[in-house]
């Protein structure tokens, strides 16, 4: 176990290092720089700005100096929003994304597992068909369609909920539904297929033979095994949802972290971009580790070794 964790830590740092390097180098290689649209943009002004934001010298020098700063946990300053450090930007934008993404994640995982399990247990009945048809519909309709429609129905027509913005619980309902809908469907489909496989296995036949009802057999024995592929999917999903969704944030007018990626590339604002990539990768690594640990808990046959 300690060997496993140590090796994992090493490979995680490697992944993080490569991801940040790739992001930094690619963004710096893009045509156009962060100071192109400076007023009275003389070469002198640009040079001064480049020096101030440590973007002077060759690409290699810029890269090594940034990596050195990162090693000292300095995420540097945004070149677009001049008074803001990357740490401040993340601290301001992450909480709303974490909250919304967390709620959407809980909805997607619980509802998805429940729907998938029911569909599998009622295989080839109208319940199953209905659930799977609904799931495919939910996957096919993108969130920038469901979002405006939810707003039109529940906010503008029925006037039950606010149109957008951020504040109390009522502001969370529509975006959380909009964000979680396709993922409920993915999880439900995954769960159904996985449970169908498990229901055919010998140990379930034994469970039924010793007199358990179908519901007991599923809840006591099958679910624990069938949920493994779902858990694998939930790891990256958590990282995805928690770092925010640009679409949902735009549609519901929420200031979250999802916009950092797109806006930073538009503005060639390399440091917030790298900061967001670091957060995303760290979350991905952490949740994949949790997935692996959960695996060994759920299925005792799986041993973690380096």
């Amino acid at each position: 176990m300690p060997v496993f964790l140590l090796r994992r830590l090493f490979s995680s740092i490697l992944v993080l290092f490569f991801a940040v390097s790739l992001t930094f180098l690619l963004t710096r290689l893009l045509p156009g720089g962060p100071f192109d649209r400076e007023k009275g943009g003389s070469a002198k002004v640009e040079q001064v700005l480049q020096e101030r934001y440590k973007l002077n010298g060759s690409l290699w020098q810029q890269y090594t100096s940034y990596m050195a700063d990162l090693a000292h946990l300095d995420l540097r300053v945004s070149t677009k929003y001049r008074d803001w450090s990357v740490a401040e930007i993340l601290a301001q934008k992450m909480p709303s994304s974490l909250k919304l993404g967390g709620i959407a994640f809980i909805i997607a995982s619980t509802l998805g597992v429940l729907l998938g399990a029911v569909a599998a247990m009622r295989r080839d009945t109208p319940v199953d068909w209905g659930a799977m048809f609904g799931a495919l519909v939910a996957i096919s309709i993108p969130s920038f369609i469901t979002g405006p429609f939810l707003i039109a129905i529940f906010a503008l027509w029925l006037r039950w909920l606010p149109v957008g913005g951020w504040g109390d619980v009522t502001h969370l309902i529509l975006p959380a539904i909009c964000l979680s809908m396709p993922y409920i469907a993915y999880v439900a489909r995954l769960m159904r297929n996985s449970l169908l496989d498990v229901l055919k296995s010998d140990f379930l036949r034994t469970a039924r033979a010793k007199g358990l009802t179908e519901a007991q057999a599923v809840s006591r024995h099958a679910l624990k095994v069938a949920i493994l592929p779902v858990v694998t999917y939930l790891g990256p999903l958590a990282a995805n949802l928690l770092t925010g969704s640009m679409i949902v944030e735009t549609v519901f007018n929420i200031s979250g972290a999802g916009s950092i990626f797109v806006n930073s590339i538009q503005n060639r604002d390399v440091f917030p971009l790298c900061g967001a990539v670091i957060v995303y990768c760290t979350l991905l690594i952490v949740f994949n580790l949790i997935v692996d640990l959960l695996y060994s808990v759920l299925d005792k046959r799986i041993r973690l070794h380096g």
Binding site: V15, F18, A19, L22, T23, L26, T27, L29, L30, P31, G32, L136, V137, I139, S140, I141, P142, F144, I145, G147, P148, F149, I151, A152, L156, W157, Y186, R189, L190, N193, S194, D197, P229, Y233, T243, M246, I247, T250, V251, F261, V262, I265, Q266, L273, V277, Y280, C281, L284
Partner: protein
Amino acid sequence: MADAPKTSAVLYRPNGWEIVRRNKPAMISLVFLAVFVVLAFTVPFFLPTALKTTSNGAFLPPLASGVDAPVTHVCGTDKNGQDLFYRLLTGAQVSLGVGIVGAAISLIIGTLYGMISGFLGGRVDALMMRVVDLLYAVPRILFIMIFIAAFDSMFKDWLDGIRLGAQESGWSSVEGAARYLMPYSKIVVMILSLGLVEWLTMARIIRGQVLVLRELTFVTASRAMGQSNWQILRKHLLPNLSTIILTYLTLTIPAVILDESFLSFLGLGIEDPAASWGSLLKDGAQVINPVDSKWWLLAFPAVLMSLSLLALNFLGDGLRDAFDPKSVD
């Protein structure tokens, strides 16, 4: 559809095409898509030219008659007085075109990558798959945006060069063509950017299949007959992979369409005067308000896009159930 591959008895259920043909939702989807594609690419030619330009009749509701010309706007008009029905069809051309060509590009890259990785095996395979893992760790939107930014300025510079060159030489038709193509260059940019990003899943799946296939005796036999690696890959492995490739092509098309419309919805993709479902939805979402709802601008593109994506997903699912029974989503 009738020419079922005969060599695939070991890995796939032998009558895969039969399974697809008996799958009603998949067949209905196939017919729907075929009819829709044909209509989207032919109907615009038969529409009166008055429908294809901007007019003074902005925000006309569906079935209203035109202000400038005696035409009927079946689906209403948008803020520039453009006929929505015509824009929906040209938007479908762009969205479907980007989806199909983009998916085809990612398919070629993914298949080649996966085949080479799986077939060579060992250290090369390990390295190539670590690269895929690494690319998975960086958000996809990042690469797409970077590719768009790089290609966009490249294409615009290129067209500008042609335009200026033509201007100097006095070729007015070439100059006009270059100027006309400028806003449409974004379509090519989107195809390339999305095609270069979407291949990761395909590479993994193809590699997995090749790992199984290369251990089979017919590969050993062809090697004993003196065939080169490349010949084995092309003549023996590729035909066995064809149904898997077709399946994941069908599932990649809606994914690429979704990405394209996502970017266009944010105003980063297709630009006026070209339209796609995403850019039409963006226009529609901007005008919803409680007082005077211009519902048609949102409802028609939404329904059309959802139906098409649903049909593509049904077809892809049907193909996957038939040819890749082991897959768990």
